[in-house]
Symmetry: C2
């Protein structure tokens, strides 16, 4: 028979499993990456700047908290979020941090200083134009992440392959680049590269998880070449 105190202790102990899982910067980065789609240990480790052994251990921690799941195909172990709710929770944590910790805005400002402003003055109109397909939308993440989920109508142009696709991009039309979310630097670099070559480009801070949270539809799979008349390889 459990006493009231024992009961509460046991319950909060369980709740803290989730808390402990998100108490590490590395694990938060891994979760953020997994919000983009499933990945192998090696890829996650590389993206997050961790040793493979270290990433593996962090992933085990996340798995014990039941936030992620893994399965093995051949040599590779692919990790993925155990549930979309985990992504929603990550976004809730991120948003809470953004609202409560002024330091975050400061870090972003510090990173952006010296660069030209690349977000449009007003965010809502941009979202509306993206939603209506009134602009050319570039998904500059690695191809796998695009396939796992992307903004409908967006074309996949991984940052690394941007050079090869410059000829296909419109010079007269506004280009909107997005990547994983507000703290991903891929779209920032894409916009810089595009502007340096004379394109009209802006960055959308939202990633697919943010887009989904707004209630907007998400497409998945390969893109079909009907979009904006561009083939991406």
């Amino acid at each position: 028979m459990l006493s009231g105190r024992q009961f509460k202790t046991a319950i909060y102990e369980e709740l803290s499993r989730i808390g402990k899982a998100v108490a590490s910067p590395s694990r938060l980065e891994l979760l953020d990456l997994l919000c983009q789609g499933p990945r192998t240990v090696e890829e996650l480790a590389r993206e997050a700047g961790l040793s493979v052994a270290n990433a593996s251990q962090h992933l085990r921690t996340l798995r014990t908290a039941r936030l992620v799941e893994a399965d093995k195909n051949g040599l590779y172990v692919t990790y993925r979020l155990a549930d979309q709710q985990v992504c929603a929770f990550f976004l809730a944590l991120r948003t809470l941090a953004e609202n409560r910790l002024a330091e975050i805005e400061q870090i972003v400002r510090q990173f952006m200083e010296g660069r030209e402003p690349m977000e449009p003055l007003e965010k809502e109109p941009l979202l509306e134009r993206v939603r209506q397909g009134a602009v050319t939308v570039l998904d500059v993440r690695p191809r796998d992440e695009y396939i796992a989920g992307h903004i409908p109508g967006a074309i996949s142009v991984p940052l690394k392959k941007l050079e090869q696709h410059l000829a296909d991009l419109p010079t007269d039309r506004e280009i909107v680049a997005y990547c994983r979310g507000p703290y991903c630097v891929l779209a920032v670099q894409a916009v810089e590269a595009l502007r340096a070559r004379g394109f009209r480009a802006v960055r959308l801070e939202d990633g697919v998880p943010d887009w989904r949270r707004r209630g907007f539809p998400v497409a998945s799979g390969e893109d079909r070449d009907e979009h904006q008349g561009i083939k991406s390889a």
Copy 2:
């Protein structure tokens, strides 16, 4: 100038401040209590079963993460959530844990075993009856928490004073008791006491934060004696 890696490291470091804050069972219990309303250090320590010094330290940690704020009136320091969003975040964490960690359900089952079932078979109809005022609703938390926020129409009968109010309670009408939420034992004890005395009583698992999350209105301040014709002291 911040490199991409430095930027990410700094950002995830910040995000982890929130994670670290909720990585401890004691701090989660304190947050849960603060979701009910502002409290002094001593009260929080007593409710959470912590020494005052220990509670004070945990509260400092929560304050460094900007999740709570404190101000001093005379000898007393009153802590409160820095924002309602913090309560929403706590609920999100709790719900995620409930969905992902089967152990929680097991702990609840273990606690409830041997007791008569006190939740109604269907939860939605109960909520509807509570909302319509079709039942007598008892708030069995300490009076301060009732004043900070309660279900409209509920009357304040702190568990400790339940005995004194038995005469005022209806014997023919269903009584619904609620407290802080699903892991608070006050309403469980209240229902047991009421049933032992022949009342028809059920427990509502929701606390005020859960109720608010459903989008239902929350009342605050002293109750007026028009409700159910009962005066509570």
